[in-house]
């Protein structure tokens, strides 16, 4: 089975801090990691390869630094890695991102039987790119998968959807987005990352390699624009009461009465 896994390098959320005055993310000291659900997609691909044979190819679109994420994927066991990078790819929304990824997948030979993505990323959290790649490639999609079984030309997969556990059968080739519970993420073998840096190559494709035009990619190819970043508007501050516990409880009970959540004490008697 030929499998392509789309991954994204994201800021490690616990290390992200915000400059609340400027309303920007402080980039300094922020570590980058492979998006956690993409890592699960990678593990799932390796497991399927183990059972069914074939190859696992990892692709990512991002700045040149994203190569580190691909090296890590190679170290875990991927066969091939392709970095889609071009200054013009910057500022892409999901429409433009899925276009670049879909175009790259079309260029991969042979065309994959299966494309895997993480269901969502931890930074922008849209979950759009997977289904949008499927649409551009004309493939069926199943989102939020946490179990995959191969049955001949089909995959039987399980997913949670709106409070139900669905078991569905999907024809290949197909695109799945995966979520937690699919397979455990293994630790990187000691020295594997170093080996991946020295022995395995990462292919690099830019806009020209993918036969794309500037207006189709990046900021220019995006339909949405982020106009501004903000924190939620503050609510008006109410009364703040300090005092012994019984006084506090008294205030609370009176407020409950005022809200008619509690009957007034006199009425009750």
């Amino acid at each position: 089975m030929e499998i392509v896994v789309c991954i994204k390098q994201v800021p490690d959320v616990p290390t992200v801090r915000m400059d609340r005055e400027r309303m920007t993310i402080i980039r300094e000291g922020v570590e980058s990691v492979i998006n956690p659900l993409d890592y699960i997609a990678l593990e799932a691909a390796l497991e399927l390869r183990q059972k069914a044979g074939g190859h696992v190819c990892i692709i990512t679109m991002g700045p040149v630094q994203s190569e580190v994420a691909l090296r890590e994927a190679l170290a875990v066991g991927a066969d091939q890695a392709i970095l889609l990078t071009d200054p013009d790819f910057a500022g892409a929304d999901t429409l433009a991102t899925s276009h670049v990824l879909a175009r790259a997948i079309q260029k991969i030979e042979p065309f994959p039987d299966l494309i895997l993505c993480g269901m969502q990323t931890t930074d922008s959290d849209t979950g759009h790119v997977g289904p949008q790649i499927a649409e551009e490639l004309g493939l069926p999609q199943v989102c939020g998968v946490n179990e995959i079984h191969r049955e001949g030309k089909f995959l039987v997969v399980k997913r949670l959807s709106d409070g139900f556990v669905d078991t569905v059968k999907v024809t290949l080739p197909t695109l799945l987005t995966v979520t937690k519970g699919l397979c455990p993420v293994r630790d990187l073998p000691l020295g594997a990352l170093e080996a991946a840096f020295s022995t395995k190559d990462v292919l690099e494709w830019n806009m020209t390699d993918l036969d794309l035009k500037k207006e189709e990619v990046g900021f220019a190819g995006s339909a949405t624009q982020v106009r501004r970043l903000r924190t939620p508007p503050p609510r008006g501050s109410g009364d703040i009461i300090e005092g012994p516990p019984d006084v506090l409880v008294g205030h609370l009970l009176r407020r409950l009465e005022a809200l008619s959540i509690l009957d007034e004490e006199d009425e009750k008697k």
Partner: protein, 333 residues
């Protein structure tokens, strides 16, 4: 009377599955109608299925000016391929300005594909929607970076402007049996073959939606300090006829199940009353509860940021305040 009821309007995708609990369509009809009024447009609900007339009538009763409905046995199951085919066809024919859906699992799987086919922009899981009267632009507020920031997104040059919206953010309009609206059944056209066949389906065991419907929510944070003290919140909630929610740190501590998580990665609630105990006021949490009509906070630290959004703030230790409060309530309720 408007010349054309369908073109140029605001559309809401009708998701009627689990109708009595999944109210996000009705919430969006209410919000969409408010936005439509500002822009002098019509609010249109669109619904697909094998028998949808009763839902179409419900949508009218809850505020839709027009319902665009499609009935076909092939539409009985919520399927991304078939729904995308029909809705894309109708959007191209009727050209809505704005197209909204609830950020349910299905909505978040269906709308990206539809947006791509229509070659337009989509924002995910919005927590606020506004329109600009002069430009007609929909300002879509969506959380990013794990909820640390809210991004205001616009789709300036593509139509329709699409968004999925977090359930529980907006309030539905009351059911009006005398409401008047029209229901139309445009041609559906050919449906694509089903490539994703459902073999089995069963309810997820822990699924619990009571929290979003509760009139009173008692929420606890890590400031409570112990699982035992957190456990007292259940009794408090019971005495007040409500339910219990938790912040992310309290869930991590193992005091509450993931299903009780409130905030941007959990549930949004809009209860009549929220009592929040031992919560410091992280943005992650407060955006999920600030739709509450009244917020009462109990916290040891007089400088806790959470007091800034509370209608009543009690500076005290939950260890002493909670037992006293429970005693008082047991005598009264």
């Amino acid at each position: 009377m408007k010349k054309n009821r369908l073109s140029d309007s605001i559309w809401v995708f009708g998701d009627y599955r689990n109708y009595f609990q999944n109210r996000v369509t009705l919430q969006l009809i209410a919000k969409g109608k408010e936005l439509a009024k500002e822009l002098d447009k019509q609010l249109i609900a669109v619904v697909l299925g094998d028998q949808v007339h009763q839902y179409a009538m419900e949508y009218v009763a809850h505020g839709a000016d027009v319902v665009v409905a499609g009935e076909d046995p092939g539409l009985m199951e919520y399927q991304v391929d078939t729904y995308t085919a029909v809705l894309a066809r109708w959007v191209e024919a009727f050209k809505p300005q704005i197209l909204l859906a609830g950020a349910t699992s299905f909505g978040r799987e269906f709308f990206p594909r539809l947006a791509k086919r229509l070659h337009t922009g989509l924002s995910a899981d919005c927590v606020a929607l506004d329109v600009e009267k002069d430009t007609g632009l929909l300002v879509q507020t969506t959380p990013s970076f794990g909820g640390e920031l809210l991004a205001e997104v616009v789709t300036p040059d593509h139509k329709p402007q699409m968004a999925t919206v977090h359930p529980g953010i907006f309030r539905e309009l009351p059911h009006d049996p005398d409401a008047f609206g029209c229901i139309i059944y445009p041609e559906i056209g050919p449906l694509p073959e089903i490539r994703v066949k459902r073999m089995r389906t069963r309810p997820q065991q822990t699924h619990d939606i009571r929290l979003e419907d509760a009139a009173v929510v008692v929420a606890g944070g890590i400031g409570l300090g112990s699982k035992e003290l957190f456990g007292m919140l259940s009794e408090l909630a019971d005495l007040l006829g409500g339910d219990v929610g938790a912040t992310r740190p309290a869930v991590y501590a193992g005091w509450a199940e993931e299903e009780r998580l409130l905030g941007q990665t959990g549930k949004n609630v809009r209860p009549k009353l929220l009592i929040s105990v031992g919560t410091s006021g992280a943005l992650q949490y407060t955006t999920g509860i600030q739709g509450a009509e009244t917020i009462i906070a109990i916290n040891r630290d007089p400088n806790a940021p959470f007091f800034k959004i509370a209608d009543l703030g009690l500076v005290g230790d939950a260890v002493t305040v909670l037992p006293l409060l429970l005693d008082a309530l047991r005598k009264r309720v």
